[in-house]
Amino acid sequence: MNKRQTIGFYAWLIISLLVLLFLLISLPNTRWSSNITSAIPSEQAAWQQQLLQQNTSSRHLSILLSGIDLASLHQAATRLQQANIQQLTWANPGMLMQQLQHLYQQYQGLIVSPEQFALLQNGQFQPLVTAAWQRLLSPAPLLDAALQQDPLLLTQQALEQHSNASPLQVRQHWLEDSQQPALLLYAQLDIDPFERDNAAVVAQQIEQQLHLLQQQWPLLEINRSGVLFHAVIASANASFEMQLFGGISLLAILLLMWSSFTSLRPILLALTTLAIASAFGLAAMLLLFSQPHVMALVFATTLIGIAIDYSIHGMLAANKGPTNFRRMLPSLLLGLVSTLLGYVALTLLPFALLGQVAVFMSAGLSAAFITVWLVFPRWLPAQSMPSSKLLVRLCQRLSDFYQGFNHNKVLISAIFAAVAILTALLSQARFSDDVRLFNQSPAELIQQQQQVLLAGGQNWDSRFIVLLADNTEQLLQQEQQLTPLLQQWQQQGELQQWQAIGQRIPAQQQQAELQRLLQLAYQSPVLQHYLQQLQLPIPAPIEKRLTVELLPAELSQQLQPLNDKVASIILLKGLVANSQMQQQLDTIANSFWLDPIADTNQSLLHIRSQLSGWLVLAFTLAIMILLWQRGWQATLAIALMLVLSLGSSLLLSQWLQQHLNIFNLIAALLILALALDYGIFFTAKLAHAAVLQAVLLSALTSCLAFGLLSFSQTPAIASFGLTVFIGVALACLLAPLLNNVNNKEK
């Protein structure tokens, strides 16, 4: 070993130690994200993205208690709210209601229903007087000072007309259904539910308290709703799977190494390679991303499967001596370059999650290669690692078996098979870009959420309308213009209900017009008679105006400042959307239809198209490199092997999943990189049985790593793992046939 190699060896060890030190310092302070949607790019306009980011609904959570008598429910709810749960603030709906009532009480005579307003405009005063009498004579209490400011009780009646879809009634600290005893408690988080560690602490405290309640009242039914619960489960799943799959992969690989080489040295070398590769991958991810995604780590466990390939190739070559090791290195480098090309392609896509995975894998695999290159020749002297005789015999037999095939027959069969598979794939492939299919919460939690949302009448559609204006007054006037369209949709059965800020606060222009109409009405004989009967004077026009700023902050969240504009979010319920609705909405100035899920799906569709392009480009690039390095015959054979492995894995995934998705394409990119490695080694100037031994062990480890992912509870990861597993297994089966082709290197 020359001096330069020695310096390189020690330098690499020092750098590796520094990276480990960096990790020890950085890891405890890392903020991990579990928000899948934030990892997926959006094609929305900048203001739309800002609006969605400003939305705090992800911090809300609700708990529905039922199943026991009302008095016990009161006790349970009080106990829960009195428990000291950090970073959580319980809502006080009673106080909010009081504030709202107090506000409306002060501004009686400024709020009327659309129907009352129409009657005033049309001069139809008798129905208003009849309704006022009916309300006056009802035993139900009136708002304070109702008659002085608003003798027709228009505000009182307008407020009472607001339909309440939920059977729950407002109490001081919760909403209550006294008929079928149930309490709904609302709370707000002071932290981001997607911040893994903080969110887990809060969720744990809540669950602990709920568990105590369950112990005290065994019949108590608890339903939860809130992003926190989903985020924490997703994050816990990802962590668990990362540890489980990573652990099983590692253990199985070590067992494989032990049974193959019956020596501790290869195991230590493999562990060193894996440790350095993982440390470099993680360090690169932490350096480049402020809030890495936990799911990226799950994908990154596949590093074990690929990095171990390099170890095996390195160990087998180093064991045969320096000459063999040097001969092996260019092929390993070529394999690394082709794999890196695949991952670099991923970083170019506007998909943060894939970018993080690509950075991790690129840094990790580069570190694995350098470790093999600099460490293995020093730590593994020639002939120091006896291979298992059984393995050698098996590989020799397999090699003999593969070499017995007729080259031309294999080539013709492969061409036919490739055409058949590509035809089947092109005719049958159906892609789904629905983001909701990628990350699935437990069915029970989804069911609980549905129950809570239904009980609270908060089952709003994920689609909504946004109005933009220069100021709130303009915004409220725009809402007024939109109202007839919403009413029309409601009458046509396309919309069940909507919620807008204008339903709580009318535009000042409308308030002024109402005062004018009321003064006209008070002069009419019908109203004159009514006021005389009550011995009330004609009220003076109300000069003050009800403004949005007077609303409690919790009730004005549908109004959002947006740079120099103001946005109003109109929530929709029971929506049966059609293309006409969008067109009708376009006729109203500055109104926008927002569908975050559809937008994300659209983004995924675009990324998928881009990824398909990258796949073709990576394939073409690989073919060009192979043509240069291996000649046209070997290139054609490798290309056929790649097409067969890729095509079959996608086709089988289509059959098993009923559709393909973007993660199957990412998997295809990885298969391309791995299968290319196998192709490179089998067409290299190396002994067939030795290459077969290395590739067999590599493929086994890769299949194990990726195959385990197919058991993931996260559909995106499972889908990815399944495709890579099939692809790698097929590539491993087909690659040994490449030995029969003539190539430039030979």
């Binding site: 009302l70 008095a71 009673g94 209601m97 009081q98 009849t130 009498w133 009916q134 309300r135 006056l136 004579l137 009802s138 035993p139 139900a140 209490p141 009136l142 304070d144 000072a145 109702a146 008659l147 002085q148 407020l159 009472e160 007309q161 607001h162 339909s163 309440n164 059977p167 009634q169 407002v170 109490r171 001081q172 006294s178 008929q179 009967q533 009550l534 011995q535 009330l536």
Partner: protein, 201 residues
């Protein structure tokens, strides 16, 4: 001397008050005051704060399938349906729910049906220590003051939203509930006199 007498009176009234509270709670007549089948006629006098004239109305109540129909016939024809889900107003062809009236609906139903559980959960039940006339501002003579056979129960709401609407509710009667006084926190009062169909001449 005067101070001593006053102390004795205060002490006696406290003793009386506590004994009476215990008696009232142990022998609530509420369960016996359920509305009889058929129509129960009512006359209502509503005194709204700052309104110079009292509003008088009359009609009948009827229990139909656990819903109370409050039918005002004079001075206007108006129908309310009071159920545990809230109060609904008859408008042209259907009952339209009045939002926010759920608790009032439950209260009326509980009082008129003598639902002891609901009342005990939401009210403190106290003896009537003050003359009703001092609580209810009414220009009409108070029948209760002249009828010594009546038993009265004073309900003080314990929690929101009831205690934000009503300061107290007084119920009086003998065999049936005969008088209801709804005293609101804003000083409005509603006095309802009930007579069963059999008692009507």
């Amino acid at each position: 001397m005067i101070k001593g007498i006053r102390s004795c009176v205060v002490a006696l009234s406290l003793v009386y008050s506590s004994v009476a509270t215990a008696n009232v709670e142990s022998s609530l007549p509420l369960s016996t005051w359920q509305l009889p089948a058929g129509k129960t006629f009512f006359s209502q006098e509503k005194q709204i704060a700052q309104l110079p004239v009292p509003l008088q109305s009359a009609g009948y109540l009827e229990l139909i399938n656990n819903d109370l129909i409050w039918h005002t016939t004079t001075p206007i024809d108006s129908k309310l349906r009071i159920s545990s889900a809230g109060v609904s107003q008859w408008q042209q062809q259907d009952y339209i729910a009045l939002a926010g009236s759920e608790f009032v609906g439950q209260l009326m139903l509980a009082v008129l049906q003598g639902q002891q559980d609901f009342i005990q959960l939401h009210f403190s039940i106290q003896p009537l220590s003050l003359p009703i006339a001092s609580l209810v501002r009414s220009p009409t003579p108070d029948v209760l003051l002249q009828d010594k056979h009546n038993t009265c129960v004073n309900l003080i709401p314990l929690q929101a939203p009831l205690n934000q609407l009503f300061s107290q509710i007084i119920l009086c009667g003998q065999q049936h509930l005969e008088h209801m006084f709804l005293i609101e926190t804003n000083a409005s009062t509603t006095k309802i006199h009930l007579t069963t169909a059999s008692a009507t001449p």
